[in-house]
Amino acid sequence: MPAFEHILIIGGGVGGALAHDLALRGFKVTLVEKGELLSGTSGRHHGLLHSGARYVLHDPGAAVECWQENRVLQRIAAQAIEPNGGLFVALDERDLSFREAFLDRCRSAGIPARPIPTSQAIGMEPALSPALQAAVMVPDAVMDAWRLPMHFFATARANGAAIRNFTEVTALRMTGRAVAGVGVTDHRTEATGTISADLVVNAAGPWAGRIAAMAGIRIPLQPSPGVMVSVQGRLTQRVINRLQPAGEGDIIVPQRGLSILGTTAWLADDPDTVSVPPGHVPRLFDLCRALVPAIGGLQPHAVWSACRPLLQNGEAVDPYRVSRSFGCFDHGQRDGVEGLVTVIGGKATTMRAMAEKTADLICRKTGRQIPCRTRDTVLLPYRNFWRNT
């Protein structure tokens, strides 16, 4: 089948899911990423495959989206998911005051949340704090933050997409007011060149503002870094969340033989965060120790930060209140610059949905009516990425 328009994707994170979607729909696809794939935000999180329950209290749209995508990913990339569930736990009167609203909102969002007796919760997770006042089971799960998205890259490549890592976009190539391609530097050799495309998609996550600026466009992106800490030892079988509105140090994500404490958040202008601000690690230990006391006796196994690409679509300046929904922008319509689309916001859990919406927009722009097939297309194993290249 001859390929349709050539779509160039900037960014090897969520862009992997988009490359897969577009390749399935018959487009010719090239993806460029300045470093290793998934080295920005999408491979660098704590690994929670959201049930959506974390968002029911303040971001119901994102909650519904997460629960839908949770089920899709369990179907299409089962090998990259530890399907062990999660608990929301109340430790004090304040936590308990959210319980009814939490259960109500989970019901409205269609998320199967089930209260269980505290004795049962302690039986299931003996490391939980004895201060436990209430527990609710939710269908959280844990993803391998590298291997799950690599399933998308493997399948996209098998379907003909060209995936070029270590290739950095240095300029947008303009024809008049339209984007017609990109200038790149291939860091493997430092060779420079250009890649022409019918349409360029800016999927650079927290770096998307820099790409848009190359076309003189401002986008509503707010980089928001956060710190995570892993400790040696799997202290719980399930994901443990504090039953509170989303905030600092409210989650412990077990994965293999590690437990990951998350997160902190602040607002930044520069997405290249290289240092961990003082005080963040002790704060995570303090907050997570309240959930699982044994954490207090452990040393950090790794400390790192990653930068969220928040979509700033309201007045909220508290990074925990900014919606985790995502947005696609057609810069032809929005800014009079044709040939460029930007996708920002979202989460690793919703990467497939972000890709679907963006590919739908690309179909509208190219006048093609091709339905999305990624919900039901089981992905190739991630290891296929390194086969037959």
Binding site: D144, W146, F166, E190, A306, L380, N384, W386, R387
Partner: protein
């Protein structure tokens, strides 16, 4: 905060440009707790944007950031600069893999003898009455390539399957009994277990405790029980 300057001597290679390879020195202010990966990030962002290295999760789950640090295979994300105790830290790419550039290597050879379809999940408590009820976990092997790079037999015989593939086969045999016969035959073939020299380098450098050497010894015992 205690800080001191550490010199990183980094293997530089860019086909056709920095070719033959050479070492280049960079200096960073090493704070307490700073990892080799943190240092590489700082060098890339403030001194040389052309530096190529692999990384993703920053907490030893993805396996992308392995390289040779002062001659030993380790994950850069889990190696603290000041713990190394040397004024100069020497960084080189893994051995036994095609080089992409600088510290990055291609992983195609790593997966040559690991079937894409082998399961990456394992029951956390094997042997229970109802294995279907056992919680599932990811495999401990993060496929970083440290063991392959450290293996002396792989260096002598590049077509040897190597420790990672044999450990993966051993694992798959225990999870997928109907396939055990065929897998064991593969492990015993002319590129298989027979070339292992029991140097144990693989187990020594494994960052996640997979113990490939022990698994290869297991395969060898199983193969001995069978008629030739």
């Amino acid at each position: 905060m205690t800080a001191c300057t550490v010199e990183l001597s980094i293997f530089r290679f860019k086909p056709g440009r920095i070719d033959p390879p050479r070492f280049e020195s960079f200096r960073v202010e090493a704070e307490k707790g700073m990892t080799v990966l943190d240092a590489l990030e700082r060098i890339r962002l403030t001194q040389d944007g052309s530096l190529v290295y692999r990384r993703s999760c920053h907490h030893s789950s993805c396996g992308t950031c392995a390289c040779r640090i002062n001659g030993i295979e380790r994950l850069t994300c889990r190696t603290r600069l000041l713990d190394l105790g040397t004024e100069t830290v020497r960084l080189e790419p893994l051995r036994g893999f095609e080089r992409i550039g600088d510290l990055a290597v291609r992983m195609e050879a790593f997966y040559r003898d690991i079937e894409p379809g082998w399961s990456y999940l394992t029951p956390s408590a094997p042997g229970e009455a109802d294995p279907g009820a056992a919680p599932l976990r990811f495999e401990a092997c993060i496929e970083c390539g440290c063991c392959v790079s450290a293996c002396p037999a792989t260096r002598l015989r590049p077509d040897f399957m190597g420790p990672a593939a044999l450990a993966a086969m051993h694992n798959e045999i225990s999870k997928n009994p109907p396939a055990a016969d065929g897998l064991l035959r593969t492990a015993g073939n002319e590129r298989g277990e027979r070339w292992c020299e029991r140097a144990l380098a693989c187990s020594r450098v494994c960052p996640t405790g997979v113990h490939p050497a022990r698994r290869i010894a297991d395969l060898r015992r199983e193969l001995k029980k069978r008629p030739a």
